[in-house]
Protein backbone atom coordinates (compact mmCIF):
# COMPACT_ATOMS: atom_id res chain seq x y z
CA UNK A 1 0.00 0.00 0.00
CA UNK A 2 2.82 2.36 -0.84
CA UNK A 3 1.35 5.81 -0.99
CA UNK A 4 -1.90 5.34 -2.82
CA UNK A 5 -2.19 9.07 -3.52
CA UNK A 6 0.79 8.83 -5.87
CA UNK A 7 -1.02 6.42 -8.10
CA UNK A 8 -2.61 7.86 -11.16
CA UNK A 9 -6.17 9.09 -11.37
CA UNK A 10 -7.08 5.61 -12.50
CA UNK A 11 -6.57 4.29 -9.00
CA UNK A 12 -9.94 2.73 -8.20
CA UNK A 13 -11.97 4.28 -5.39
CA UNK A 14 -12.87 0.86 -4.14
CA UNK A 15 -11.16 -2.41 -4.79
CA UNK A 16 -12.75 -5.59 -3.58
CA UNK A 17 -10.43 -8.57 -3.58
CA UNK A 18 -11.75 -12.08 -3.19
CA UNK A 19 -14.19 -11.30 -0.41
CA UNK A 20 -15.73 -14.31 1.29
CA UNK A 21 -18.47 -14.45 3.90
CA UNK A 22 -19.63 -17.63 5.57
CA UNK A 23 -22.41 -17.85 8.08
CA UNK A 24 -22.60 -20.64 10.56
CA UNK A 25 -25.92 -22.37 10.57
CA UNK A 26 -26.30 -24.95 13.24
CA UNK A 27 -23.50 -27.07 14.55
CA UNK A 28 -21.69 -28.21 11.47
CA UNK A 29 -23.27 -26.36 8.57
CA UNK A 30 -21.94 -23.17 7.05
CA UNK A 31 -23.71 -21.07 4.47
CA UNK A 32 -21.54 -19.45 1.86
CA UNK A 33 -23.32 -16.14 1.53
CA UNK A 34 -20.58 -14.49 -0.51
CA UNK A 35 -17.91 -16.66 -2.00
CA UNK A 36 -14.89 -14.95 -3.47
CA UNK A 37 -16.11 -11.72 -5.04
CA UNK A 38 -13.67 -9.28 -6.64
CA UNK A 39 -14.26 -6.01 -8.51
CA UNK A 40 -13.15 -2.41 -8.76
CA UNK A 41 -14.93 0.91 -8.97
CA UNK A 42 -13.52 4.11 -10.41
CA UNK A 43 -14.51 7.45 -8.93
CA UNK A 44 -17.76 8.77 -10.36
CA UNK A 45 -18.78 5.39 -11.70
CA UNK A 46 -21.98 3.50 -11.00
CA UNK A 47 -21.71 -0.22 -10.63
CA UNK A 48 -24.70 -2.49 -10.39
CA UNK A 49 -24.65 -5.69 -8.40
CA UNK A 50 -27.51 -7.74 -9.71
CA UNK A 51 -28.84 -11.07 -8.64
CA UNK A 52 -31.87 -12.85 -7.33
CA UNK A 53 -32.79 -12.47 -3.71
CA UNK A 54 -30.87 -14.81 -1.50
CA UNK A 55 -27.79 -14.74 -3.70
CA UNK A 56 -25.86 -12.81 -1.10
CA UNK A 57 -25.81 -9.41 -2.67
CA UNK A 58 -27.25 -7.65 0.34
CA UNK A 59 -24.59 -9.37 2.43
CA UNK A 60 -22.02 -8.11 -0.01
CA UNK A 61 -23.29 -4.56 0.43
CA UNK A 62 -22.80 -4.88 4.16
CA UNK A 63 -19.34 -6.31 3.66
CA UNK A 64 -18.35 -3.32 1.53
CA UNK A 65 -19.44 -0.93 4.26
CA UNK A 66 -17.98 -3.25 6.90
CA UNK A 67 -21.27 -3.49 8.75
CA UNK A 68 -20.50 -7.19 8.64
CA UNK A 69 -16.96 -8.48 9.00
CA UNK A 70 -15.78 -10.51 6.03
CA UNK A 71 -14.60 -14.06 6.60
CA UNK A 72 -11.66 -13.36 4.32
CA UNK A 73 -10.61 -11.04 1.52
CA UNK A 74 -9.92 -7.34 1.27
CA UNK A 75 -12.06 -4.25 0.83
CA UNK A 76 -9.65 -1.47 -0.16
CA UNK A 77 -11.32 1.89 -0.03
CA UNK A 78 -9.30 4.91 -1.10
CA UNK A 79 -6.13 2.95 -0.56
CA UNK A 80 -7.03 1.66 2.92
CA UNK A 81 -7.94 -1.94 3.61
CA UNK A 82 -11.12 -1.66 5.64
CA UNK A 83 -11.10 -5.31 6.69
CA UNK A 84 -7.98 -4.66 8.78
CA UNK A 85 -9.46 -1.69 10.54
CA UNK A 86 -11.53 -1.97 13.63
CA UNK A 87 -13.15 0.25 16.17
CA UNK A 88 -12.36 3.93 15.92
CA UNK A 89 -10.34 3.79 12.71
CA UNK A 90 -13.12 2.04 10.88
CA UNK A 91 -15.60 4.50 12.30
CA UNK A 92 -13.58 7.38 10.88
CA UNK A 93 -13.68 5.78 7.43
CA UNK A 94 -17.46 5.78 7.51
CA UNK A 95 -17.38 9.48 6.77
CA UNK A 96 -16.44 8.61 3.23
CA UNK A 97 -18.55 5.53 2.79
CA UNK A 98 -22.28 5.67 3.28
CA UNK A 99 -25.20 3.42 2.61
CA UNK A 100 -28.82 3.74 1.52
CA UNK A 101 -30.97 0.93 2.76
CA UNK A 102 -33.61 -1.18 1.12
CA UNK A 103 -36.53 -0.72 3.43
CA UNK A 104 -37.49 2.90 3.96
CA UNK A 105 -39.76 1.86 6.79
CA UNK A 106 -37.18 -0.10 8.74
CA UNK A 107 -34.12 2.03 8.20
CA UNK A 108 -35.33 5.13 10.05
CA UNK A 109 -35.51 5.09 13.83
CA UNK A 110 -39.22 5.60 14.51
CA UNK A 111 -38.52 7.38 17.78
CA UNK A 112 -36.39 10.14 16.28
CA UNK A 113 -37.39 13.21 14.33
CA UNK A 114 -36.12 13.23 10.80
CA UNK A 115 -33.96 16.21 11.70
CA UNK A 116 -32.20 14.12 14.33
CA UNK A 117 -31.99 11.18 11.98
CA UNK A 118 -30.30 13.21 9.27
CA UNK A 119 -28.02 15.01 11.70
CA UNK A 120 -26.99 11.89 13.58
CA UNK A 121 -23.97 11.06 11.40
CA UNK A 122 -22.79 14.65 11.71
CA UNK A 123 -23.15 14.55 15.47
CA UNK A 124 -21.38 11.21 15.69
CA UNK A 125 -18.32 12.91 14.27
CA UNK A 126 -18.83 16.14 16.17
CA UNK A 127 -19.24 18.11 12.97
CA UNK A 128 -22.20 20.27 13.85
CA UNK A 129 -23.57 22.08 16.85
CA UNK A 130 -26.78 23.87 17.71
CA UNK A 131 -28.05 26.19 15.05
CA UNK A 132 -25.58 24.91 12.50
CA UNK A 133 -27.25 21.54 12.75
CA UNK A 134 -30.65 22.91 11.88
CA UNK A 135 -29.34 24.81 8.89
CA UNK A 136 -27.49 21.81 7.58
CA UNK A 137 -30.50 19.52 8.02
CA UNK A 138 -32.76 21.92 6.20
CA UNK A 139 -30.26 22.22 3.41
CA UNK A 140 -30.08 18.47 3.06
CA UNK A 141 -33.86 18.17 3.08
CA UNK A 142 -34.03 20.71 0.31
CA UNK A 143 -31.42 18.81 -1.67
CA UNK A 144 -33.47 15.63 -1.61
CA UNK A 145 -36.63 17.49 -2.49
CA UNK A 146 -38.38 17.55 0.84
CA UNK A 147 -39.85 20.53 2.57
CA UNK A 148 -37.07 21.79 4.88
CA UNK A 149 -39.56 22.65 7.58
CA UNK A 150 -40.44 18.98 8.07
CA UNK A 151 -37.34 18.50 10.20
CA UNK A 152 -39.33 18.12 13.42
CA UNK A 153 -41.62 15.44 12.04
CA UNK A 154 -41.39 11.73 12.76
CA UNK A 155 -40.76 9.09 10.08
CA UNK A 156 -44.20 7.51 10.32
CA UNK A 157 -45.72 10.72 8.99
CA UNK A 158 -44.05 10.21 5.64
CA UNK A 159 -44.80 7.98 2.66
CA UNK A 160 -42.38 5.32 1.48
CA UNK A 161 -40.89 7.50 -1.21
CA UNK A 162 -40.48 10.44 1.14
CA UNK A 163 -38.84 8.20 3.70
CA UNK A 164 -36.37 6.98 1.17
CA UNK A 165 -35.49 10.59 0.45
CA UNK A 166 -34.78 11.02 4.17
CA UNK A 167 -32.49 7.99 4.02
CA UNK A 168 -30.70 9.57 1.08
CA UNK A 169 -30.32 12.85 2.95
CA UNK A 170 -28.76 10.99 5.86
CA UNK A 171 -26.33 9.25 3.54
CA UNK A 172 -25.36 12.61 2.01
CA UNK A 173 -24.88 14.37 5.34
CA UNK A 174 -21.21 13.52 5.67
CA UNK A 175 -20.39 14.34 2.04
CA UNK A 176 -19.27 10.79 1.32
CA UNK A 177 -17.35 9.70 -1.74
CA UNK A 178 -19.08 6.37 -2.18
CA UNK A 179 -22.65 5.36 -1.47
CA UNK A 180 -23.79 1.77 -1.44
CA UNK A 181 -27.44 1.67 -2.46
CA UNK A 182 -29.02 -1.57 -1.27
CA UNK A 183 -32.12 -2.04 -3.43
CA UNK A 184 -33.20 1.52 -2.69
CA UNK A 185 -36.44 1.34 -4.64
CA UNK A 186 -37.55 -2.27 -4.48
CA UNK A 187 -39.87 -1.58 -1.55
CA UNK A 188 -41.61 1.27 -3.38
CA UNK A 189 -44.50 1.40 -5.80
CA UNK A 190 -43.49 1.45 -9.44
CA UNK A 191 -44.68 5.02 -9.85
CA UNK A 192 -42.49 6.21 -6.97
CA UNK A 193 -39.46 4.17 -7.99
CA UNK A 194 -38.74 6.44 -10.90
CA UNK A 195 -38.77 9.53 -8.68
CA UNK A 196 -36.10 8.08 -6.43
CA UNK A 197 -33.92 6.81 -9.29
CA UNK A 198 -34.07 10.21 -10.91
CA UNK A 199 -33.14 11.90 -7.65
CA UNK A 200 -30.16 9.61 -7.21
CA UNK A 201 -29.01 10.39 -10.73
CA UNK A 202 -29.32 14.12 -10.14
CA UNK A 203 -27.39 13.90 -6.90
CA UNK A 204 -24.65 11.92 -8.55
CA UNK A 205 -24.11 14.67 -11.09
CA UNK A 206 -24.40 17.30 -8.43
CA UNK A 207 -21.99 15.95 -5.87
CA UNK A 208 -19.75 13.71 -7.92
CA UNK A 209 -20.83 10.59 -6.15
CA UNK A 210 -19.82 7.03 -6.81
CA UNK A 211 -22.60 4.47 -6.48
CA UNK A 212 -22.72 0.77 -5.93
CA UNK A 213 -26.19 -0.22 -6.87
CA UNK A 214 -27.60 -3.44 -5.53
CA UNK A 215 -30.70 -4.70 -7.31
CA UNK A 216 -32.54 -7.93 -7.89
CA UNK A 217 -34.35 -7.25 -11.07
CA UNK A 218 -32.07 -8.23 -13.91
CA UNK A 219 -31.27 -11.89 -14.15
CA UNK A 220 -27.62 -11.25 -14.69
CA UNK A 221 -24.63 -12.70 -12.84
CA UNK A 222 -23.62 -10.78 -9.77
CA UNK A 223 -20.04 -10.24 -10.79
CA UNK A 224 -19.26 -6.94 -12.33
CA UNK A 225 -22.11 -5.30 -14.11
CA UNK A 226 -21.48 -1.81 -15.34
CA UNK A 227 -25.14 -1.18 -15.37
CA UNK A 228 -26.53 2.25 -14.70
CA UNK A 229 -29.19 2.55 -12.09
CA UNK A 230 -32.10 3.05 -14.42
CA UNK A 231 -31.26 -0.16 -16.16
CA UNK A 232 -31.11 -2.26 -13.08
CA UNK A 233 -34.61 -1.38 -12.16
CA UNK A 234 -37.76 -2.95 -13.43
Amino acid sequence: MADPRAAAAREPLLRVVNVVKYFHAGVAATVKAVDGVSFEIQPGETVGLVGESGCGKSTLGRLLTQLLPATSGQVIFDGVDLTRLGGEKLRQQRKQLQMIFQDPFASLDPRMTIGDIIAEPLENFGLVTGRQKNARVQELLRVVGLNPYFNNRYPHEFSGGQRQRIGIARALALNPKLIVCDEPVSALDVSIQAQIINLLEDLQREFNLTYIFIAHDLAEPADRVGTPPDRTQG
Binding site: G145, R153, G161, Q162, L174
Partner: protein, 303 residues
Protein backbone atom coordinates in the same frame (compact mmCIF):
# COMPACT_ATOMS: atom_id res chain seq x y z
CA UNK B 1 -19.13 21.92 6.75
CA UNK B 2 -21.87 24.13 5.50
CA UNK B 3 -20.64 24.19 1.97
CA UNK B 4 -23.20 25.50 -0.41
CA UNK B 5 -25.16 22.74 -1.99
CA UNK B 6 -27.14 24.09 -4.87
CA UNK B 7 -30.56 22.60 -5.05
CA UNK B 8 -31.22 20.58 -8.16
CA UNK B 9 -33.61 22.77 -10.03
CA UNK B 10 -35.96 20.12 -11.34
CA UNK B 11 -37.15 18.84 -7.99
CA UNK B 12 -40.06 20.43 -6.32
CA UNK B 13 -40.72 19.21 -2.83
CA UNK B 14 -41.61 15.64 -3.52
CA UNK B 15 -44.96 14.55 -2.25
CA UNK B 16 -45.43 18.12 -1.19
CA UNK B 17 -47.08 17.65 2.13
CA UNK B 18 -46.94 14.87 4.65
CA UNK B 19 -48.38 11.48 3.89
CA UNK B 20 -50.45 11.73 7.00
CA UNK B 21 -50.61 14.30 9.66
CA UNK B 22 -50.35 12.55 12.98
CA UNK B 23 -49.67 13.19 16.60
CA UNK B 24 -46.69 11.43 18.05
CA UNK B 25 -46.90 7.81 19.11
CA UNK B 26 -46.86 8.72 22.78
CA UNK B 27 -49.60 11.26 22.62
CA UNK B 28 -51.64 8.85 20.54
CA UNK B 29 -51.18 6.19 23.20
CA UNK B 30 -52.22 8.52 26.01
CA UNK B 31 -55.30 9.47 24.05
CA UNK B 32 -56.22 5.78 23.76
CA UNK B 33 -55.47 5.21 27.44
CA UNK B 34 -57.85 8.03 28.35
CA UNK B 35 -60.62 6.36 26.40
CA UNK B 36 -60.14 3.11 28.32
CA UNK B 37 -62.61 3.53 31.16
CA UNK B 38 -61.33 0.58 33.16
CA UNK B 39 -57.76 1.82 33.04
CA UNK B 40 -58.94 5.30 33.93
CA UNK B 41 -60.94 3.97 36.88
CA UNK B 42 -57.91 1.96 37.96
CA UNK B 43 -55.71 5.05 37.79
CA UNK B 44 -58.17 7.02 39.90
CA UNK B 45 -58.31 4.25 42.50
CA UNK B 46 -54.52 4.05 42.60
CA UNK B 47 -54.32 7.80 43.11
CA UNK B 48 -56.79 7.47 45.98
CA UNK B 49 -54.74 4.63 47.44
CA UNK B 50 -51.57 6.71 47.26
CA UNK B 51 -53.41 9.45 49.12
CA UNK B 52 -54.57 7.03 51.83
CA UNK B 53 -51.04 5.76 52.11
CA UNK B 54 -49.67 9.27 52.58
CA UNK B 55 -52.35 10.19 55.11
CA UNK B 56 -51.76 7.00 57.09
CA UNK B 57 -48.19 8.03 57.74
CA UNK B 58 -49.44 10.96 59.80
CA UNK B 59 -52.94 10.08 60.87
CA UNK B 60 -55.17 7.07 61.36
CA UNK B 61 -58.53 6.94 63.17
CA UNK B 62 -57.02 4.86 66.00
CA UNK B 63 -53.50 3.84 66.83
CA UNK B 64 -53.06 0.87 64.52
CA UNK B 65 -50.81 -1.19 66.77
CA UNK B 66 -52.41 -0.64 70.12
CA UNK B 67 -54.00 -3.79 71.46
CA UNK B 68 -57.36 -3.44 73.11
CA UNK B 69 -58.53 -0.34 71.26
CA UNK B 70 -61.84 -2.09 71.10
CA UNK B 71 -63.41 -5.46 71.76
CA UNK B 72 -61.80 -8.41 70.03
CA UNK B 73 -63.67 -9.73 67.01
CA UNK B 74 -65.97 -6.73 67.07
CA UNK B 75 -68.13 -6.59 63.96
CA UNK B 76 -68.16 -3.42 61.84
CA UNK B 77 -69.83 -0.54 63.63
CA UNK B 78 -70.02 3.21 63.41
CA UNK B 79 -67.01 3.67 65.64
CA UNK B 80 -65.02 0.97 63.90
CA UNK B 81 -66.27 0.82 60.32
CA UNK B 82 -64.30 -2.33 59.51
CA UNK B 83 -64.53 -3.92 62.91
CA UNK B 84 -61.67 -5.10 65.08
CA UNK B 85 -59.24 -7.98 64.90
CA UNK B 86 -58.46 -10.82 67.25
CA UNK B 87 -56.33 -8.58 69.44
CA UNK B 88 -58.83 -5.74 69.55
CA UNK B 89 -57.06 -3.42 67.13
CA UNK B 90 -58.99 -1.17 64.79
CA UNK B 91 -59.06 -2.86 61.38
CA UNK B 92 -59.52 0.33 59.34
CA UNK B 93 -56.43 1.91 60.84
CA UNK B 94 -54.41 -1.20 60.21
CA UNK B 95 -55.72 -1.46 56.69
CA UNK B 96 -54.64 2.11 56.00
CA UNK B 97 -51.17 1.53 57.38
CA UNK B 98 -50.94 -1.74 55.51
CA UNK B 99 -51.07 0.12 52.21
CA UNK B 100 -47.62 1.51 52.96
CA UNK B 101 -46.06 -1.91 52.78
CA UNK B 102 -47.82 -2.94 49.60
CA UNK B 103 -47.14 0.27 47.71
CA UNK B 104 -43.53 0.62 48.77
CA UNK B 105 -42.79 -3.01 47.95
CA UNK B 106 -44.46 -2.68 44.56
CA UNK B 107 -42.81 0.57 43.53
CA UNK B 108 -39.37 -0.13 44.94
CA UNK B 109 -39.25 -3.53 43.31
CA UNK B 110 -40.32 -2.07 39.98
CA UNK B 111 -37.57 0.54 40.17
CA UNK B 112 -34.88 -1.96 41.12
CA UNK B 113 -36.00 -4.36 38.43
CA UNK B 114 -36.10 -1.57 35.86
CA UNK B 115 -32.56 -0.54 36.66
CA UNK B 116 -30.99 -3.96 36.92
CA UNK B 117 -33.05 -5.97 34.47
CA UNK B 118 -33.02 -3.45 31.65
CA UNK B 119 -29.32 -2.73 31.72
CA UNK B 120 -28.34 -6.37 32.09
CA UNK B 121 -30.78 -7.44 29.38
CA UNK B 122 -29.83 -4.74 26.90
CA UNK B 123 -26.14 -5.48 27.27
CA UNK B 124 -26.69 -9.22 26.89
CA UNK B 125 -28.88 -8.77 23.83
CA UNK B 126 -26.72 -6.22 22.08
CA UNK B 127 -23.29 -7.72 22.64
CA UNK B 128 -24.39 -11.34 22.57
CA UNK B 129 -21.49 -13.77 22.97
CA UNK B 130 -20.05 -14.18 26.46
CA UNK B 131 -22.09 -11.41 28.09
CA UNK B 132 -25.27 -12.99 26.79
CA UNK B 133 -24.20 -16.48 27.84
CA UNK B 134 -23.61 -15.38 31.43
CA UNK B 135 -26.83 -13.39 31.69
CA UNK B 136 -28.89 -16.12 30.06
CA UNK B 137 -27.46 -18.74 32.38
CA UNK B 138 -28.31 -16.56 35.35
CA UNK B 139 -31.84 -16.09 34.05
CA UNK B 140 -32.24 -19.81 33.45
CA UNK B 141 -31.04 -20.72 36.91
CA UNK B 142 -33.44 -18.29 38.54
CA UNK B 143 -36.24 -19.64 36.37
CA UNK B 144 -35.35 -23.10 37.64
CA UNK B 145 -36.65 -22.48 41.15
CA UNK B 146 -40.04 -21.33 42.39
CA UNK B 147 -39.68 -17.60 43.10
CA UNK B 148 -41.65 -17.66 46.33
CA UNK B 149 -39.28 -20.24 47.78
CA UNK B 150 -36.26 -18.19 46.79
CA UNK B 151 -37.82 -15.17 48.40
CA UNK B 152 -38.46 -17.15 51.58
CA UNK B 153 -34.88 -18.43 51.65
CA UNK B 154 -33.51 -14.93 51.11
CA UNK B 155 -35.88 -13.54 53.68
CA UNK B 156 -34.66 -16.04 56.21
CA UNK B 157 -31.05 -15.31 55.29
CA UNK B 158 -31.35 -11.52 55.32
CA UNK B 159 -33.74 -11.28 58.23
CA UNK B 160 -37.06 -9.55 58.41
CA UNK B 161 -37.57 -5.92 57.46
CA UNK B 162 -39.08 -4.04 54.58
CA UNK B 163 -35.83 -3.48 52.68
CA UNK B 164 -34.92 -7.13 52.90
CA UNK B 165 -38.34 -8.11 51.63
CA UNK B 166 -37.89 -5.77 48.66
CA UNK B 167 -34.47 -7.21 47.90
CA UNK B 168 -35.75 -10.77 48.22
CA UNK B 169 -38.67 -10.09 45.88
CA UNK B 170 -36.53 -8.18 43.38
CA UNK B 171 -34.24 -11.18 43.18
CA UNK B 172 -37.17 -13.31 42.08
CA UNK B 173 -38.75 -11.03 39.46
CA UNK B 174 -35.81 -9.40 37.66
CA UNK B 175 -35.58 -12.20 35.09
CA UNK B 176 -38.71 -11.34 33.14
CA UNK B 177 -37.51 -7.79 32.66
CA UNK B 178 -33.99 -8.88 31.76
CA UNK B 179 -35.34 -11.40 29.29
CA UNK B 180 -37.67 -8.84 27.75
CA UNK B 181 -34.90 -6.24 27.41
CA UNK B 182 -32.57 -8.88 26.00
CA UNK B 183 -35.16 -9.98 23.47
CA UNK B 184 -35.87 -6.40 22.49
CA UNK B 185 -32.18 -5.67 22.08
CA UNK B 186 -31.69 -8.86 20.06
CA UNK B 187 -34.49 -8.02 17.67
CA UNK B 188 -34.00 -4.25 17.46
CA UNK B 189 -30.29 -4.62 16.82
CA UNK B 190 -31.17 -6.46 13.62
CA UNK B 191 -33.44 -3.69 12.39
CA UNK B 192 -32.11 -1.66 9.54
CA UNK B 193 -32.03 1.65 11.37
CA UNK B 194 -29.45 0.24 13.76
CA UNK B 195 -27.32 -0.73 10.77
CA UNK B 196 -27.93 2.75 9.44
CA UNK B 197 -26.74 4.24 12.73
CA UNK B 198 -23.61 2.12 12.62
CA UNK B 199 -23.04 3.10 9.03
CA UNK B 200 -23.34 6.69 10.18
CA UNK B 201 -20.54 6.16 12.66
CA UNK B 202 -22.48 5.83 15.92
CA UNK B 203 -20.68 4.39 18.94
CA UNK B 204 -22.18 1.50 20.95
CA UNK B 205 -23.34 3.62 23.86
CA UNK B 206 -25.32 5.80 21.50
CA UNK B 207 -26.78 2.78 19.72
CA UNK B 208 -27.73 1.02 22.96
CA UNK B 209 -29.19 3.97 24.84
CA UNK B 210 -30.00 6.32 21.99
CA UNK B 211 -31.65 3.91 19.57
CA UNK B 212 -32.42 0.55 21.16
CA UNK B 213 -33.67 1.72 24.56
CA UNK B 214 -36.12 4.33 23.26
CA UNK B 215 -37.56 1.78 20.87
CA UNK B 216 -37.85 -0.84 23.58
CA UNK B 217 -39.28 1.57 26.12
CA UNK B 218 -42.92 0.80 25.42
CA UNK B 219 -42.80 -2.91 26.28
CA UNK B 220 -40.35 -2.20 29.11
CA UNK B 221 -42.67 0.26 30.81
CA UNK B 222 -45.60 -2.07 30.35
CA UNK B 223 -43.58 -4.90 31.86
CA UNK B 224 -42.67 -2.62 34.77
CA UNK B 225 -46.34 -2.01 35.47
CA UNK B 226 -46.78 -5.77 35.70
CA UNK B 227 -43.85 -6.09 38.07
CA UNK B 228 -45.73 -3.99 40.63
CA UNK B 229 -48.69 -6.34 41.16
CA UNK B 230 -46.45 -9.39 41.05
CA UNK B 231 -44.24 -7.87 43.74
CA UNK B 232 -47.24 -6.92 45.87
CA UNK B 233 -48.66 -10.40 45.42
CA UNK B 234 -45.39 -12.06 46.36
CA UNK B 235 -45.08 -9.83 49.41
CA UNK B 236 -48.60 -10.77 50.39
CA UNK B 237 -47.81 -14.47 49.95
CA UNK B 238 -44.72 -14.06 52.11
CA UNK B 239 -46.66 -12.28 54.82
CA UNK B 240 -49.45 -14.77 54.58
CA UNK B 241 -46.99 -17.59 55.21
CA UNK B 242 -45.53 -15.69 58.12
CA UNK B 243 -42.50 -14.17 56.46
CA UNK B 244 -43.65 -10.56 56.38
CA UNK B 245 -42.67 -7.35 58.01
CA UNK B 246 -42.14 -7.97 61.71
CA UNK B 247 -45.21 -7.51 63.90
CA UNK B 248 -46.88 -5.39 65.07
CA UNK B 249 -46.48 -3.44 61.81
CA UNK B 250 -49.58 -4.02 59.73
CA UNK B 251 -49.55 -5.32 56.18
CA UNK B 252 -52.40 -6.79 54.20
CA UNK B 253 -50.99 -10.26 53.67
CA UNK B 254 -50.17 -10.60 57.34
CA UNK B 255 -53.63 -9.32 58.31
CA UNK B 256 -55.22 -11.93 56.07
CA UNK B 257 -53.06 -14.53 57.71
CA UNK B 258 -54.23 -13.44 61.14
CA UNK B 259 -57.81 -13.63 59.91
CA UNK B 260 -57.58 -17.17 58.56
CA UNK B 261 -57.88 -19.06 61.86
CA UNK B 262 -60.87 -16.99 62.85
CA UNK B 263 -62.47 -17.78 59.52
CA UNK B 264 -61.82 -21.47 59.82
CA UNK B 265 -62.92 -21.41 63.41
CA UNK B 266 -66.22 -19.86 62.41
CA UNK B 267 -65.53 -16.44 63.96
CA UNK B 268 -65.61 -12.99 62.37
CA UNK B 269 -64.89 -13.45 58.65
CA UNK B 270 -64.29 -9.71 58.16
CA UNK B 271 -60.86 -9.86 59.71
CA UNK B 272 -59.75 -11.78 56.68
CA UNK B 273 -62.19 -10.34 54.20
CA UNK B 274 -61.20 -6.68 54.34
CA UNK B 275 -57.45 -7.02 53.87
CA UNK B 276 -58.11 -9.65 51.19
CA UNK B 277 -60.44 -7.25 49.45
CA UNK B 278 -58.00 -4.34 49.70
CA UNK B 279 -55.26 -6.51 48.27
CA UNK B 280 -57.43 -7.86 45.48
CA UNK B 281 -58.76 -4.49 44.42
CA UNK B 282 -55.30 -2.97 44.43
CA UNK B 283 -53.87 -5.79 42.36
CA UNK B 284 -56.85 -5.57 40.03
CA UNK B 285 -56.27 -1.85 39.61
CA UNK B 286 -52.60 -2.31 38.80
CA UNK B 287 -53.42 -5.04 36.31
CA UNK B 288 -56.20 -3.08 34.63
CA UNK B 289 -53.94 -0.09 34.40
CA UNK B 290 -51.10 -2.18 33.03
CA UNK B 291 -53.39 -3.86 30.49
CA UNK B 292 -54.72 -0.49 29.43
CA UNK B 293 -51.21 0.82 29.04
CA UNK B 294 -50.21 -2.14 26.93
CA UNK B 295 -53.25 -1.89 24.72
CA UNK B 296 -52.72 1.83 24.30
CA UNK B 297 -49.09 1.53 23.29
CA UNK B 298 -49.29 -1.71 21.36
CA UNK B 299 -47.79 -0.80 17.99
CA UNK B 300 -50.16 -3.19 16.27
CA UNK B 301 -53.14 -1.20 17.47
CA UNK B 302 -54.23 0.94 14.60
CA UNK B 303 -56.87 3.52 14.79
Amino acid sequence: MATAMPTPATIDYAGGTLAREQVSLWRDGIRRLRRNKLALGAAIYLGFLALVCLVSIFWTPYKPNVIGTCETYQLPSAAHPLGCDDLGRDSLSRLMVGSQVSLSVGLATAIIVLGVGVVVGLIAGYFRGAADAIVSLGINIFYGVPPLLVAVALYVLLGSGLINIIIAISATVWMDMARLARGQALSIREREFIEAARAGGARWGKILFGHILPNALGPIIVQATFVIPVAILTAAFLSFLGFGVPPPKADWGGMANEGLPSLQGGFDPYILLFPALALSITLLAFNFFGDGLRDAFDPRQKR
